[in-house]
Amino acid sequence: MTNNKNLKDRTLGEAMQDHGISRRSFLKFCAATASMMALPPSMIPAIARALETAKKPSVIWLSFQECTGCTESLTRSHNATLENLIFDSISLDYHHTLQAASGEAAEEAREEAMQENWGEYLLVVDGSIPTKDMGYSTIAGMSNLDMFLQTAAGAAAIISVGTCAAFGGIPHAHPNPTGAYSVYDIIKMYGNASLDGISSASISNTSGGSVADKPIITVPGCPPIPVVITGVLTHYLTFGTIPELDHLGRPKAFYGQSIHDRCYRRPFYDKGLFAETFDDEGAKKGWCLYKLGCKGPTTYNACATTKWNNGTSFPIESGHPCLGCSEPDFWDGGGFYKALSVPTIDIPSTVVYAAAGGAAAGVALGALNKNKKSNAIRQHTKTTIDDLEKE
């Protein structure tokens, strides 16, 4: 880490040259990076130019109520050379799963990184943040909420990695026992709260940081596709800017199109050819999985093109419907195998109860009406010629 500090002001281009990386290798790196960032190949020269002058950003990664699946995903991204280059070109100053240091030393590293790069470091968060009882999740005796607010105050931008950090995820799912919220919601709720009580004595220059208007990039997925995580990091590293985001804060390059729009099984959907079970003829022929509960039509993610395991395949390609993991509240969608057009409630029994209720009410009303009718008949008097002549 001391080494990093010395090199901190060097550009990525210089760092690569020092590593004896040839220009040709660099071009290859840029081509792969463009592909990873889901940018058109025509952007490769721009990426090369930007990367040459890019500075090494400091990254602090905080993990809250999470399962480490996101970190697992990231470290399983397999693009060994590429990822190494990217991780060589950021300085990951704090990541309590990946770092060697622990306990106080780890916390010191975080505070040191914050102090040194105040206002410039990138804060990556995975996991949601509990609000019900601060004791539900703590790190080094500090509640998740405090640590988040404190660290967010000096961040240049926040990246919420994984559906938990992005939208609350499993912890937030009904009935949400820990009162867990996403980074975005936490900032909405506590963004303007005073940091006085939680500012650590060792971070002196924590002034001027308003948490409320920090840019947030959400990278949802349970877990997110590894190259999407690195792609977003690389985008920031390369251009020093926030990529174009959709209304949920997701980078459009990866989340701009739904799974359904890019699904290779789409022609079957359009022809009305569906697998009815997991082992019928349709399933074997690779027909559309809509009837098996596919949430592809309402899910925005890059699975269908970027694919998983280094481009091998994606869930639908393996014959399993999309769960909708990159959308908010996907756990509460009423069952992974329930088709989108089918209500999440148990309709047959609702229908039976409603019919019984309706019948009872109908009979009662009928009796009332009959009564009315016979009354009307009884009270009915005939009009005679005399009546008319009176007029």
Binding site: T298, Y300, E327, G334, A339, P343, T344, I345, I347
Partner: protein, 219 residues
């Protein structure tokens, strides 16, 4: 409320409410009609009620030449949009899944391109029907607020469904949720408006024929 939460709500609680009102409402309306009863007809039956009733269901569904000449637009447009509704409601694969959930059985679906075409034709016809209604003085005079409401409730699911299918303007979950919600509105209003004719039509036609059959005259 996030868009998926909205979608989950229309697929869950809202659907439940709509189903209860629809089912209970339709049954109440039916019982109201049947339980009211009719005076026993003391005259001797001169023919069969049943066969005449069934015949009338068919015969009244085919307009005679003069009626057709007089109001050909109304008849043609009426047939077109009803057929369109039939196809879009009952032959779109995702809809069939819903019926399967309720009824326990299903039937084959049509390719989406065909259903899509029927939806477009229905939408256009329904708009034409409204224009016709507004430009015809007699029709306009006869129309109540309920008629316009029913028109709106019918065309909304078609339009929202079309937009949801083609994802125009908003993201897919929101569009789907809006579409389902529009259908729920239709379900809620159904038993208490002229929409009930979807059920009562056949009964009324049968009854017309049945009376004539009883009297031994042609209907």
């Amino acid at each position: 409320m996030s868009e998926i939460e909205f979608l989950n709500w229309v697929r869950g609680p809202a659907f439940e409410i709509a189903t209860v009102i629809f089912i209970a409402g339709v049954i109440i309306r039916f019982l109201e009609i049947f339980l009211l009863g009719r005076k026993t007809n003391l005259a001797e039956a001169k023919g069969s009620e049943m066969s005449s009733g069934l015949r009338t269901i068919v015969s009244r569904s085919i307009p005679d030449k003069n009626t057709f000449k007089r109001s050909s637009f109304k008849i043609v447009s009426g047939y077109i949009f009803h057929l369109g509704l039939l196809v879009t409601i009952f032959f779109f694969a995702p809809h069939i899944l819903l019926f399967k959930e309720v009824l326990g059985f299903s039937w084959p679906s049509l390719p989406t391109a065909i259903v899509d075409a029927f939806a477009v034709v229905s939408i256009i016809t329904l708009i034409a029907v409204l224009i016709h209604r507004l430009r015809d003085n007699v029709l306009k005079f006869l129309s109540s607020t309920e008629d316009y409401l029913v028109w709106l409730l019918t065309i909304l699911p078609l339009i929202t469904g079309y937009i949801a299918f083609h994802r125009i303007g908003m993201t897919a979950p929101t569009l789907l949720a809006i579409h389902i919600l529009s259908v729920e509105l239709l379900l809620v209003a159904f038993p208490f408006t002229k929409l009930m004719h979807a059920f009562t039509l056949l009964i009324a036609r049968w009854y017309n024929g049945a009376i004539s059959g009883y009297r031994g005259v042609q209907s």
